[in-house]
């Protein structure tokens, strides 16, 4: 995919002239830098790159990238982007949205984009809150959460975005967080490389309305013990000294174990390319929220026919059999008669 004729660029080339309007300290800034710094390394052209978003704090992202961009309407970014990606398979289309944007009002479009495997790089900025509308419950907010709209605490069970994506036949699913630029960039790069719908959940801190939501696992000193780095083909281990691991029980449930107790051989080996998303799903269930050891990295990355490509192929095939469309012939393709 990397095109050698692409001129070298720097972060500045990817930075638009609009000043970001997020709150000082917002995690969105880190994601933006990660992206602006990643772009020059991908060897892509700015004019062939498009960011499409819905509405929300996160959804302002496109304004700050010096690429093509559309700030759409709330929840509809995956649908807007699907139209663009299917009609213009030559473009790199990134989709940006918050947890409200893409899991509440826009949940259905996300699901359908995933199942169709449209070539979109979908970044879900999950801050477990509605930022732009100033602090209501989101579909990823934890039970009991006190927000403006739930002063007595939420009674809604939250979604686990990775589980949702896997339940919807996603071919690429990853999770990262805004405290680790390198990891984010690695996930974005993998998403970009994927030929199909790539879904990346980003744990993103909203320091105004939900500060520290992920601190229990993303703080520097917690990462080793609380983040389970998934690496393809490697036993799933974590802990300050890699002393803990994940094992599949014969009852079909994953367990976190001490490696020494069970032996390395019994630690499950991560297979992001497994045909069925069973293991990936099981991993997504390890932690019900960002306060227990939580897998990050690529859960699933399988090859599957890409949507836009197949649409194009049907067109090509149809032109091959029937010849390119001939309007005059079409208008004459039914019973005809002459009046003279």
């Amino acid at each position: 995919m990397t095109d050698v004729s692409v001129p070298q660029t720097t972060r500045a080339d990817w930075t638009s002239d609009q000043e970001p309007r997020w709150c000082p300290g917002c995690g969105d800034y880190s994601v933006l830098s990660a992206m602006q710094l990643l772009m020059p390394t991908l060897g892509v052209r700015r004019e062939n790159t498009v960011f499409i978003s819905g509405i929300g704090c996160a959804a302002r992202f496109p304004y700050y990238m010096n690429t093509y961009g559309m700030h759409g309407i709330h929840g509809r970014a995956p649908a807007l982007a699907t139209g663009l990606a299917v009609s213009r398979p030559d473009l790199d289309v990134w989709v940006i949205g918050g947890d409200g944007d893409m899991l509440s009002i826009g949940g259905n479009h996300l699901l359908h984009a995933l199942r169709r495997n449209v070539k979109l790089k979908i970044l879900l900025f999950n801050n477990q809150i509605y930022g732009l509308t100033k602090g209501q419950l989101s579909p990823t907010s934890e039970v009991g959460k006190v927000t403006k709209s739930t002063p007595m605490g939420s009674v809604d069970e939250p979604f686990n975005p990775v589980s949702v994506a896997l339940g919807a036949e996603a071919t690429f699913v990853a999770r990262t967080h805004d405290m680790d630029r390198g990891h984010m960039q690695e996930m974005f790069r993998r998403a970009w490389e994927h030929d199909g719908a790539a879904f990346v959940e980003i744990y993103q801190n909203c320091n105004v309305f939900n500060d520290g939501a992920f601190a229990a696992i993303t703080k520097k000193d917690k990462r080793k013990s609380m983040l389970i780095d998934l690496e393809h083909g490697m036993p799933i281990r974590f802990g300050d000294n890699n002393e803990r691991g994940v094992m599949m029980g014969a009852d079909g449930q994953l367990r976190i174990v001490d490696v020494d107790d069970v032996g390395v051989g019994n630690i499950i080996v991560h297979d992001e390319r497994a045909d069925t998303p069973t293991l990936a799903f099981a991993l997504s269930r390890l932690a019900a929220g960002p306060f227990l050891p939580t897998p990050v990295g690529v859960y699933r990355a399988v090859e599957s026919p890409e949507y836009a490509e197949q649409v194009s192929r049907q067109i090509a095939f149809s032109q091959e059999i029937s010849g390119p469309g001939d309007l005059d012939a079409l208008l004459r393709s039914r019973t005809l008669w002459e009046v003279s």
Binding site: R45, Y68, I73, H109, S318, I321, W337
Partner: protein
């Protein structure tokens, strides 16, 4: 009931100007197909014609029930006509339910052709008949012919090795044969069509052919019928003709628009009656480069069309009323982004789920006003099945040239109805191509190197269409208010007022670029009949009728509802009375009254069925005698 005694001489041949036949039977009886074939054979004979399918909302209602009746009406004429006719002259009734539900439409003294085999107790029961209508005097005011179609069809199929149950399915071809003979329709087109259509199933070809021939022969030989009829060829303009319904014509119009704009078509739709057929038709035309996308819902459909338009395709979405309602928010986005988009509404009876298979013209308000904020957009309406072709091109033309969403209104009656069409040549179609902006075209002369995605064309006020992939013109746009020129987010009060007025003015400027009001005037009338949409047909017929009887009445028709043609106001002011029949409660009337302060008189019909020419003629006569 006229006794259908066996006659002993050749029947007379009566010549008719026009003939309205209604085929009615069970949903499974193939009435749509029968009607369609009859129409086709008539078209081939050179008649003008107009058709109106009328089928139930159920997929397949239980056989024999009233709500399972499916009907098809066609008017064939030796003159230029514009409606499928008012009261049918002939009714073909394949079962008691069909007779019961359709008889009231038949003109007094009209002809009924009945499949007498089906009038058994069970079917009479299901249709709710207490007594057999063939025997109790129900049919006294009509000429009724009882033909044992089922048994005769089974009989003739016996030797073909077709099982009786399968043979029974061909009885509609028997009926078609009878009617074809009775009205002197040519048999060749039908036989040929049977061959092509069922070619892969030889038994079916054989059965249908046999049934059709047997029906024809039955008419010829049984001497049951008193008279046969001829409708001479109409004096239509010379040319090559075909027959299409409105939805097909519309789909083809979109393909034509794509060709004439030199841009690929992207059709994103969610199925809904009566619009789905456009999606179906275009899905089968991939060799035209059209991408069809069945989206997960109407919102995704319109949004993906917007995405495609952003990418430089012609983004189109087809739907009916409930879908337009759902698309409101996203149409507003397209309007704010100022990208082309065509939203096609095949209107049906509302509100809510309403009458999904029936026609209505009650979405005009929704098209004009159904968005939050000040959100004007052009609205175009087709008025006849074949004119849907041109209306589609026109809607795309405006959308592309002015970078705006356009709503194209059709309706269920136009969508499913068909008529002969003198096929246009694509070289005669307008060139509707537009330019994408390039770095040279956009930046040159602007004196500054920043991309100004809202730098407007001084004439049309359209902004440049800058498609991703164009080097040097990267920019970001969105639904927040934008500064004119730069397109940057702006909360400035004066800019908002400016942009609001610019968006409105841009739509108004379309008025300079559309044809004048279609006016049929003899210069002497005080009464103007004004129409939009499919009501054109009934009013055209009625005006002819009234004029033929010496009445003075003019007819003006609007193909563009927003903006209105510039000549409309003077036209309206030049009549003492303006009557505006609409298949709604007076939506356009309200608009015109508000705009021009002219006492436009609204005439409403909200019954899921179009106005008939007779109703309109009565209305005109009433108005003239007022």
């Amino acid at each position: 009931m006229t006794d259908t005694a066996i006659r002993t001489s050749r029947p007379d041949v009566q010549e008719l100007d026009r003939l309205v036949v209604r085929f009615a039977g069970d949903s499974g009886d193939g009435m749509q197909l029968t009607g369609d074939r009859f129409s086709n054979a008539s078209a081939v004979m050179g008649n003008d014609l107009a058709t109106m399918p009328d089928f139930p909302a159920e997929i397949r209602a239980p056989a024999g029930t009233l709500h399972g009746v499916s009907a098809f009406q066609v008017q064939v004429s030796s003159e230029d006509i514009s409606t499928p006719g008012d009261a049918p002259n002939v009714l073909v009734a394949m079962n008691p339910a069909a007779l019961r539900s359709e008889l009231h439409r038949l003109e007094v003294g009209g002809t009924i052709i009945i499949n007498s085999d089906s009038f058994n107790e069970r079917n009479l029961d299901k249709a709710g008949y207490e007594a057999n209508p063939l025997e109790d005097g129900t049919l006294d005011r009509y000429t009724a012919y009882r033909v044992p179609m089922t048994s005769l069809t089974k009989e003739v199929c016996k030797d073909l090795g077709v099982k009786p149950r399968d043979a029974e399915r061909s009885k509609n071809f028997f009926a078609l044969g009878v009617v074809s003979w009775m009205f002197g329709r040519p048999t060749a087109p039908t036989l040929e069509w049977i061959n092509v259509k069922f070619g892969r199933r030889p038994k079916v070809v054989a059965a249908n052919t046999a049934a059709f021939n047997a029906g024809h022969a039955f008419g010829e030989t049984t001497e049951m019928f008193h008279s046969t009829y001829r409708v001479p060829a109409a004096k239509l303009p010379p040319g090559t003709y075909t027959s299409v319904n409105g939805n097909t014509a519309l789909a083809w119009g979109l393909l034509a628009a794509s060709q004439q704009a030199k841009l690929p078509l992207f059709l994103a739709s969610y199925p809904i009656t009566p619009a789905s057929d456009i999606l179906h038709e275009l899905s089968g035309r991939k060799n035209f480069g059209v991408r069809t996308f069945q989206a997960e819902d109407e919102i995704a459909a319109v949004c993906s069309a917007v995405g495609a338009s952003f990418g430089g395709h012609i983004g189109v979405t087809t739907t009916s009323g409930p879908g337009v309602a759902l698309k409101s928010e996203a149409i507003g986005l397209a309007l704010s982004l100022e990208v082309p988009l065509v939203v096609i509404d095949i209107q049906r009876g509302g509100p809510s789920t309403g009458l999904p298979t029936k026609t209505e013209a009650s979405d005009l308000n929704l098209a004009l006003y159904g968005r939050h904020g000040e959100a004007p957009l052009p609205v175009v309406a087709s008025y006849s099945p074949t004119q849907c072709f041109f209306a589609a091109i026109e809607a795309v033309r405006i959308a592309l040239k002015y970078r705006t969403p356009v709503v194209l209104l059709s309706d269920g009656y136009l969508g499913n109805g068909s008529e002969p069409w003198r096929i246009p040549r694509s070289e005669d179609l307008p060139d509707i191509s537009v330019e994408f902006a390039t770095a040279e075209s956009l930046l040159n002369g602007s004196g500054d190197s920043s991309v100004r995605p809202y730098r407007r064309d001084p004439e049309t006020l359209a902004r440049p269409w800058i498609v991703p992939g164009t080097p040097g013109l990267m920019h970001r746009i969105g639904g927040l208010e934008k500064e004119d020129g730069t397109g940057n987010i702006s909360y400035d009060p004066d800019n908002h007022e400016l942009m609001t007025r610019l968006r409105a003015e841009k739509v108004e400027r379309v008025a300079k670029d559309i044809p004048p009001t279609m006016l049929d005037s003899d210069g002497l009338a005080d009464l103007l009949m004004l129409t939009w949409g499919s009501t054109w047909g009934a009013v055209t017929s009625a005006v002819k009728r009234v004029r033929a009887a010496g009445g003075k009445v003019d007819h003006a028709h609007l193909t563009h509802l927003n903006p209105l043609p510039i000549d409309l106001e003077p036209i309206l002011r030049s009549y003492a009375k303006v009557y505006l029949p609409e298949m709604n409660m007076g939506q356009l009337a309200m608009l015109l009254r508000g705009r021009f302060l002219i006492d436009v008189h609204s005439v409403s019909k909200v019954q899921g069925v179009p106005f008939t020419a007779g109703e309109i003629a009565d209305l005109i006569n009433g108005a003239l005698n007022d």
